[in-house]
Amino acid sequence: MNQTVLSVSGITKTFPGVRALDDVSFDIRAGEVHALVGENGAGKSTLMKVLAGLYKPDSGEIVHRGEAVRLTSPLEARNRGILLIHQELSLSPELSAAENIYLGAWPTNRLGVLDKRKLRADAQAALDALGCDFGATARVGTLSIARQQMVEIARAQAFNANLVIFDEPTASLTEGEKVQLFQTIERLRAAGVGIVYISHKMDEIFEITDRITVLRDGAVQGTVETRDTGIAEITRMMIGRDLDSYFHRARADFGAETLRVEGLTKAGLFRDVSFSVREGEVLGLYGLVGAGRSEVVETIFGIRKPDAGRLFWRGEETAFPKPRKAIEIGMALVPESRKEQGLILGMGGRQNITLPHLRLFSRLRVMQERQERAVFDRYRERLSIKTTGPEQPVSLLSGGNQQKFVLAKWLCAEPKLVILDEPTRGIDVGSKSAIHELIAGLAEQGLAVIVISSEMPEVLGVSHRVLTMSEGRVAGEFSGDSMTEQNLIEAVSRQAPAAVESEVA
């Protein structure tokens, strides 16, 4: 059973300004579950998309079942038996499970009339083979997420896939559903299918995988047998030792409490979240994507309304504000998604910077463009933003420069509290360290800072104190010597309910 299903060698893929994959080589054997791990931005998703035919690599070779191939479309990949199961499922909710399984390859007669009976029977057979408990005629939109995922996996069964790539498959599953998914993966493995398993959750990886390949900054750090290694080694490979020097932590010189929340709850998103942050302090909020971190800060900022909880702003209990009020009292939220929440891409830097503070930059409701340009110039220099001028649409800038505009937008009105949600996601190393320095500088000026990040070294490197979140709850709080990689990883990858009491290992 040690045949190689697919091997890639020397794969390189660059995007404007970023080398996403750098000379990547690895292989997947039939009947193995092969984990692909790495931090956000390490190149996992790019590699996955190359394997699934969504991206064309700049160079390198893909050998599938002994044959050099060029995968130019997902269809071609599927026809060769390579199937990607996305985190965001690629299903049509209005079609039936059977139609989704065979999407684009429905059995028809010569006139294009569906052979519904065959379609249903084949699909049902695929679903049954996976041990699914629902019918092939069910409309996908009415199925739970776990069952929708099964529909996708059934495609693997239906098309006789020899390689299935799972991207964070347990992200929105319950414990019971996860067990079921693992049984399904086990079945596929037993049938000789090669499986690539991408996940952040170490416990899962050590539970079901045979080998682990670690990516960092687009390059392979090594491939190891799962049984020969441990969490510590993998973490070390993911992070790299030398990174410590990148970070610059602010002096620990704390003033009065800026913000405190108690018992913050929003049904279905997070429960009973309490914490506080002081002037001059950088509080890290660490957790996996979907743990409820962004939702918590969005609630504090007024984008969402909480079901329960209290908010204290600079020592006084305050009603939960609307965003405009939050901005007025001195909160700033640098949101998670630059392009969807942070910037208006068609606008220039000047207009983006002043957007949250239109009142400040206007007199009698008339915009004062000279003041706007002045603040644009000031921040262009201060953050060394590369742009041709105040009117150049920010859509034309690199990710790092865009992010600097988002920062400028939130810093220019001198806030008291700055919340940064994944401030360095998807930007290059140089801009990253500039942003880390900036964070430290803010704290040293006496601002309270909250940094949300899924990147462990970043959280550890910039924070004075770290709060971990898991499945909508605070899973632990660490500072000083207890702030170690080991502790953080364990806190977030344990199942949440048990995690709350026993926080330090």
Binding site: S73, P74, S92, L114, L143, S144, E295, S337
Partner: protein, 326 residues
Amino acid sequence: MTAIHTTPQRAGAMTHATRALLRNHIWLFLVLAIAVFSGATPYFLTTNNMGNILTQGAFIGILAIGMTLVILNGEIDLSVGANLALAGALAIGLQPAVGVWPAIGLAFLTSTALGVLNGLLVVFSGMHSFIVTLGGLIGIRGLVFVYTGENALMVEDFSYTELAEVYLGPLSLTAMIFLGLAAMFQWVLSSTRHGRETYSVGDNIEAAHDAGINIKRHKVINFGICGAMAGIAGILLSMRLGTAEPNAGRIWELWTIIAVVLGGTRLQGGYGSLWMTVGGVLTLAVLRNGLRLLNTPNYVELMVMGSVLILALGLNRLVEMREGAR
């Protein structure tokens, strides 16, 4: 990835029955409307009048069939009213030159071709169909005026008007064609590859593309069908009236969209059916017919229709919110 987290349980909150009812609210409207008018006037619920309603609704109805396919794709066609007028004008205007049946055939082909042209412009330019067909609406109406010289064209041979005078009980030929086409395309939607692809493309265009569905060709075909339906409606209208007005079908595109959306088909695409559209068309026709039988001034009709549409929109919104907004 985005801030708005959709709740995982989309089903479950509602019972199956309420959901089915909410998703088919149009038939509830229709039954309600019929009940009210039946109580209000004895002339309403007669076989003859039912036949009338079907005939009156058939023209918008045929247009709505093509519109439904286009809307299911997530597109829109504003040019159907003008296209209908052009088909009518050609069907009558070409008769002296080429004879009745060739004229009908040419009219049909022209409308279909204009539908295909709309589709080609949409898929190859990347423009939104709203703009493309808004242009089409203006331009095709221009063609009609150029062709007719802004005069109504009269048929010379009045046997032409008798072609449509075929009845099966109370059902006119026009009504039969409407119902037949609706049934046929409903079958296409539910049982053929093209039909199922229509949903897939409107529902999740990336998934459809990744699965190898040829989206461009697919959309062009649906725009072509939409044009063809406009042609058929235009020809039938010219038979019924014996004339082709250059202004025929003005703002019918709007009525057609109203009928489709009233039926419950989702304007963003991916959800709906021709049964729903037939329900929407019939509801509009019943309202119009019933209000006229009651001798209400015609402003009531317009106001009722506007209100019903807003009501339907509110209901749709409710369904979306209950199902977890998508």
